[in-house]
């Protein structure tokens, strides 16, 4: 069976800094892969290089067997890859509901058909489903930019699911989110994984979250993969402990 996502010898240099320095891994369909590592170890850059946000210096990315190295974020989204960013990225002036519809409306029909489509492009029910799932009904009509940080984070994550992507990359979904919400998020992602079969790659510092959720973990340090394996094993790895302490 081919992997859902296959990354080979990925490199990204910024001048003399090798932010990502030869990373290879693959993710099977249905997996939840965790990516940990100290700040500055290249996790976000790895995501950005996979997702076309930055052009890789070397290496390749294949999604569902297609070479998508250097593809634009737009095309990767259309292919079925969703993502969230480390910093909040919502459409601040649009309502939460419109944020969700905006995140789903560009899939399927052609652009010119959309000009004449109903205002909600038939996505009302899907938006309601996601709103209920993420329990953001009480703020659905408010401008996303007016919500608390934690709520915006939920909206941000919810947006990534509107188009029923097969793979979602999450960059520090728990950062700045209160513990109760983190539990809710863990539960949600598990459910989306189990019921919709969505595959995840999650960058996260919160070890409880990673332990609870991930089936496999990669630890990065200085742009390279330091350790890879089941969460408990990676957590106990000497080199990993040293990387964290040394950082």
């Amino acid at each position: 069976m081919t992997a859902l996502l296959d990354v080979q010898a990925m490199q990204k240099a910024y001048g003399a800094i090798r932010a990502v320095d030869g990373v290879s891994f693959s993710v099977a369909s249905g997996e939840i892969l965790g990516v940990i590592g100290p700040n500055g170890s290249g996790k976000t850059t790895l995501f950005n290089a996979i997702l076309g946000q930055v052009l890789p210096s070397a290496g390749s990315v294949a999604f569902e067997g297609h070479d998508v190295t250097g593809s634009k974020p737009l095309h990767l989204a259309r292919r079925g890859i969703g993502r969230t960013f480390q910093s909040l990225q919502v459409f601040g002036k649009l309502s939460v509901r419109d944020n969700l519809i905006a995140a789903g409306q560009e899939f399927g029909t052609g652009k010119f058909a959309r000009l004449f489509a109903a205002p909600e492009a038939g996505l009302g029910p899907r938006a309601e489903e996601i709103i209920a799932l993420f329990r953001i009904g009480h703020v659905a009509h408010l401008p996303a930019g007016s919500l608390s940080y934690g709520q915006q984070k939920l909206v941000d994550i919810a947006m990534a699911f509107m188009s029923r992507p097969r793979l979602v990359l999450l960059d520090e979904p728990c950062a700045g989110v209160n513990p109760a919400l983190i539990d809710q998020l863990t539960e949600l992602l598990r459910r989306l994984n189990r019921e919709a079969g969505t595959t995840f790659i999650v960058i996260e510092h919160n070890m409880d979250f990673v332990m609870n959720l991930c089936s496999r973990v990669i630890c990065m340090a200085q742009g390279r993969i330091l350790a890879e394996g089941p969460p408990a094993e990676v957590q106990a790895n000497r080199a990993v402990l040293e990387a964290y302490l040394g950082a």
């Binding site: 974020p73 989204a77 259309r78 990225q89 905006a102 409306q105 000009l115 947006m159 188009s163």
Partner: protein, 306 residues
């Protein structure tokens, strides 16, 4: 529903109101209506899609000259009008390309440069545009054989077109395209990551905004009957941008309010003679500082202050 009735009442009132005005008054109100059309287009580009343009008057000019030339060539107004709109749409699409590469003040200067370019073409290409003498004796528009020559009739014709363009704009903004424009404005990087083709929507935001200016230009040509390059310079583009921002950028009725400020206040300030520009300038400074969201943000500001 209440809102709809209010709007309908305002539309009808404005239709009949100028009946009591002298010709000059009717001229001013018609000019306001023309500015509203151009302003709606610019509001789409700037207020809804988050771009910046200091070139709207160039499209206004392209629309006006296209119409004047087409009418001289014997085309009816109803053929000249879509021609003006289409030409502006095409050129607007081209102006969108710099916006794919640069933003903010760089884009402001790119569009400003475009405006200067168009101005120079209007002034120097005598064979087409009449150069600095311009084009005079522009025919009054005829609709199905009826010649619209009374100022009041022409105003009402312009107003109906303004309302029609407004309805089209409202439909556009309510469609998924309107949401895509807003997403592009609020966060282009996020927009791309959820499959929104920001290249396409950026180009369209310029093209549609330009087409509105083209329509406005067609009416302007017939309103004044004589066009020369002067009204289509960078000054007017600045006024149009001011209009959008002063009214409330990204608010549907912003341009209507903004056009009042740009067209009517200078008239009211005539008593101040040479001081009028100074007074106008101070008003703008005060407003930009205290009410950056424009006049239409005033109710929210007052509510927020309680």
């Amino acid at each position: 529903m209440m809102r709809f009735l209010l709007i309908a009442a305002a539309v009808i009132a404005i239709y009949f109101l100028p009946a009591g005005l002298k010709n000059y008054g009717i001229y001013i109100v018609t000019l306001w209506s023309v500015y509203v059309i151009a302003g709606m287009g610019l509001n789409l580009t700037v207020g809804y899609a988050g771009q910046i343009s200091l070139g709207q008057a160039a499209f206004w000019g392209i629309g006006a000259y296209t119409t004047a030339i087409a009418l001289k060539a014997g085309l009816p107004f109803l053929a000249a009008l879509p021609l003006a709109a289409l030409l502006c749409f095409g050129v607007g699409l081209l102006l969108g390309f710099p916006a794919l590469r640069v933003q903010h003040h760089y884009l402001a200067f790119a569009t400003l440069g475009f405006n200067i370019l168009v101005y120079l073409v209007l002034r120097n290409e005598d064979w087409l545009t009449g150069g600095s003498f311009g084009i005079n004796n522009i025919a009054e528009p005829t609709l199905l054989g009826w010649r619209i020559s009374r100022p009041l009739d022409f105003f009402q014709f312009t107003w109906i077109a303004t309302v029609a363009m407004g309805v089209l704009m409202a439909l556009l903004l309510r469609s998924p395209w309107g949401r895509a424009f807003a997403a592009l404005r609020d966060n282009p990087i996020r927009a791309e990551s959820v499959g929104i083709d920001t290249t396409f929507y950026t180009l369209l935001a310029f093209a549609i905004g330009a087409a509105y200016a083209g329509v406005a230009g067609a009416f302007f040509a017939c309103l004044v009957g004589f066009i020369e390059p002067a009204p289509f310079g960078v000054n007017t583009s600045l006024s149009m941008l001011l209009m959008v921002i002063a009214g409330g950028s990204g608010r549907f009725f912003g341009p209507a309010i903004g056009a009042m400020i740009v067209v009517l206040i200078p008239e009211w300030l005539r008593f101040a003679a040479e001081w009028y520009l100074a007074i106008f300038g101070v008003m703008i400074v005060v407003m930009m500082v205290w009410l950056p969201g424009g006049i239409l943000s005033l109710p929210e500001r007052l509510r927020g202050a309680k």
